[in-house]
């Protein structure tokens, strides 16, 4: 995009900066420092990838900063990489600002080597200079700048050092005041002739935005996207000639990569001084425990245990307090304010909206604390180690270590867990992980268990709750075994994951993560829950105003035979149905159906009186494995793109919840819990 010229009104010139960088390079930090709160998060058109864009004003100019997905390279191997290169090719940013990690300079420059073929001007931000210095790695930005022929700006993004200078340099390159004459990589000598031959064969046949030598390079690499682009555009005889070259050079991907690595070697030779080997770093010391096949598991169990403990020890009292405040106090206030209004109106707001949706809102403290604790483990670099030690246990169910992270997020809320599968790259792998995610008990379901377990098993509630979580995870494993073949096929999915250095967590980036995930819950679940709460309220009032004679009761009674064999009456089934709106709604619905508000006894007492502990256990099992809430279903649909697997998943979960609840019920009867 060409810079807008100065208009008559004197509005500032705008330049587009594409921000590129590998994962863990600190790119997000740079983006956040530059754009502050002036950023917009959405989706890339037609993609489930998050698009972040922001504006930074500098020297009277506007820099529109487009955050490209974090990728190691620009191959066609993942959606992120295809997207990143297409943005650079088609949107023609005025400058590509790429962040490289000074502690892993050679690897980071690989992305630069790829970007240089795309012909956009490039500026390099040499980040994490402080960490490199602590590890004894000395990088000379000036020497690197001379070697690359590109501006190189040293920086420590998380301490806001060098970021403005980086932006100013990007601006100078964008407006042409600073030259950018890169000495880019070449193809390895033994494949140069083929590369040239391919370039001649595609000449004139590809759209102008694609540099021909880049197309030839990608053909040589065996890139599917470019191969099919070229196949559809060149005449048949030329295509045959191209295929002939490629068939003889199927190791082209290694030759091209080799050329990049040779170039990187030349670039850094004079610019970097490494410490002598043998120095033991903090990361290595911590990893002796964290990645140990035995101690690593203990470390993971301990950290996750602490995570849950903090979440519930701090979150539950807060939730109770909010419950009193929102659901009860404000309901009373609403009734007082709407005193003159028709009774149905104050009931709609007080019982319907506040009672239903308000209950869901009270879960926010639990969610926020969970996401903060999770973010702490993630940001410090630990979580990848957790994924590493869990990898061997995930393989039998068709997944690998990386899925463990997404699934773990599901303990907070299934919606961000399903969204988190985006990081997994391979599509089939994403599908399987997303389909299993609803079996991870979310905080909403745990809130229901927290109410019901003490009712039926006073004194053993915690034990029962842990047992139920364990049962869910066991079923998750079994379902993984069953779904592995149909979803993933025979192929083993590749587990390749960088283990970043440990570092002190950055509160700002943790807070952003908490915000992003909490908003995902509020945005995806919020409106659905409010509407659902109103619908449930309407169904429980119409036609006569009494719960007992309402449509809701009629539906519950109609399906009552389904639950009768488990000793569950229509009220329990109705609560289960309403949990489809939001898991925690089950409690509010039970409250309405048992008339707890009008009774002098608590909901717990009323429920305990109406059924045996065996039935109570069956209800809890069912509740834990039942189809996920509407927000999760909607997220599954949008992330997987098709209904097919979502419907299969719902049917399987529904059947599983009944079968397992039945087994548990009869087991409990046999154990004398009738």
């Amino acid at each position: 995009m060409a810079p807008d010229s100065l208009t008559a009104a004197g509005s500032p010139r705008t330049f587009t900066v594409a921000l590129a960088g590998q994962p863990n390079s600190g790119k997000s930090t740079v983006f956040n420092v530059l754009t502050g709160l002036d950023q917009h998060v959405g989706n890339w058109p037609g993609k489930t990838l998050e698009k972040r864009e922001g504006v930074c004003t500098l020297d009277g100019c506007r820099l529109r900063i487009v955050d490209l997905p974090g990728t190691y390279a620009l191959s066609a191997g993942s959606d992120e990489e295809r997207l990143a290169r297409n943005v650079v090719l088609h949107d023609r940013p005025d400058v590509v600002a790429v962040i490289v990690d000074a502690t892993a300079l050679e690897r980071s420059l690989y992305l630069v080597a790829e970007l240089l073929w795309l012909r956009s001007p490039v500026v390099v931000g040499l980040n994490m200079m402080d960490v490199a210095a602590r590890r004894g790695i000395r990088v000379e930005p000036d020497v690197l700048e001379t070697a690359l022929g590109l501006p190189v700006v040293p920086m420590v993004a998380n301490r806001n050092q060098g970021v403005r200078e980086f932006a100013a340099t990007a601006l100078a390159v964008a407006d042409g005041t600073r030259p950018c004459e890169p000495r880019g990589p070449a193809v390895r000598r033994d494949h140069q002739r083929e590369h040239e031959a391919l370039r001649e064969l595609v000449a004139g046949a590809v759209p102008v935005e694609y540099p021909e030598e880049w197309i030839a390079l990608k053909l040589l690499e065996g890139d599917d996207e470019i191969t099919s682009l070229v196949r559809g555009r060149v005449p048949a005889d030329r295509w045959l000639a191209i295929e002939a070259i490629l068939a003889r050079h199927e190791d082209g991907v290694l030759a091209v990569a080799g050329g990049r690595h040779e170039w990187i070697g030349r670039m850094v030779r004079a610019a970097i001084v490494r410490p002598r080997a043998g120095q033991v770093t903090v990361t290595e010391r911590l990893d002796r425990v964290a990645t140990h096949p035995v101690w690593g598991l203990f470390a993971l169990a301990g950290l996750l245990g602490a995570l849950f403990w903090v979440t519930y020890a701090v979150g539950v009292p807060l939730q109770r307090a909010l419950d009193g405040l929102i659901v009860h106090e404000s309901a009373r206030w609403v009734r007082a304010v709407l005193d003159g209004a028709p009774p149905w109106m104050s009931s709609l707001v007080a019982d319907g909206v506040l009672g239903g949706a308000g209950t869901a809102l009270t879960l926010l403290p639990i969610l926020v604390i969970f996401f903060a604790a999770f973010g702490l483990l993630e940001d410090s670099g630990y979580m990848t180690r957790g994924a590493y030690v869990m990898d061997r246990f995930m393989h039998p169910i068709g997944l690998h270590g990386s899925s463990f992270l997404s699934l773990c997020l599901g303990f907070g809320c299934n919606v961000p867990a399903v969204l988190g599968t985006r990081a997994l790259g391979e599509r089939r792998h994403r599908v399987l992980t997303a389909l299993l995610a609803p079996l991870v008990p979310c905080s909403g379901r745990m809130a229901v268990i927290a109410v019901l377990a003490p009712v039926f098993f006073p004194g053993h509630a915690a034990l029962v709750a842990w047992g139920l979580v364990g049962l869910n995870l066991a079923i998750l494993a079994l379902l993984g075994l069953a779904l592995r073949r149909p979803v993933v096929g025979k192929r083993q999915l590749a587990f390749i994951m960088e283990l970043p250095l440990y570092h002190a967590p950055h509160p700002a980036s943790i807070l952003r993560g908490v915000w992003r995930r909490t908003i995902a819950f509020v945005r995806n679940a919020g409106s659905i829950i409010v509407i659902g709460a109103i619908v449930v309220w309407l169904l429980s009032r119409l036609p006569g105003g009494e719960v007992d004679t309402s449509y809701l009761a009629a539906v519950g009674r109609a399906i009552a035979p389904i639950g009768a064999w488990l000793g569950l009456d229509w009220r329990m089934l109705t609560a289960l149905l309403s949990s489809f709106v939001a898991k925690e709604n089950a409690i509010a619905t039970l409250g309405v159906l048992y008339g707890a508000a009008g009774s002098d006894r608590s909901l717990g007492e009323l429920v305990a009186q109406s059924m045996t502990p065996a039935s109570g256990l069956a209800m809890m099992v069912m509740q834990m494995m039942f189809i996920p809430c509407l927000a999760t279903v909607a997220t599954l649909r949008s992330e997987l793109g098709r209904w097919k697997w979502v419907v299969v998943d719902l049917v399987v979960l529904l059947a599983t919840s009944f079968v397992v609840a039945g087994v548990v019920y009869f087991g409990a009867l046999a154990a004398g819990l009738g």
Binding site: R107, E221, L254, H261
Partner: protein
């Protein structure tokens, strides 16, 4: 004919010929050093590995290789976890100063 050749990229019999001087990364014990010689497998898989630095000539150190679990490899200043199956497709020449 040619099309077939394209679709089986990386799977041709030529690739299966083993070089006695090479071993797979999965066979290197913890602490051993090696130099990447070749990567087998599909294009997408090879692209992912080369982007992380697994290119012919790159020196690496096996940080951890135990039991049946994944490996940890240190190369180009960073650490990479790699499944056992994946490590089996990376052929390396064990370097002289390998610690064994």
């Amino acid at each position: 004919m040619f099309r077939e050749g394209l679709e089986t990229t990386g799977m041709s019999p030529r690739k299966r010929i083993t070089d006695p001087a090479l071993t797979t990364l999965a066979d290197l014990p913890s602490g051993a050093c090696g130099v990447v010689a070749r990567i087998d497998g599909g294009t997408a898989f090879r692209s992912r590995l080369v982007a992380l630095g697994f290119a012919a000539g790159t020196e690496l150190v096996v940080v951890q290789n135990v039991g049946r679990g994944p490996l940890i490899v240190s190369l180009l200043g960073s650490q990479v976890a790699l499944g056992r199956g994946e490590a089996g497709k990376v052929l390396v020449a064990q370097s002289a100063h390998g610690a064994g």
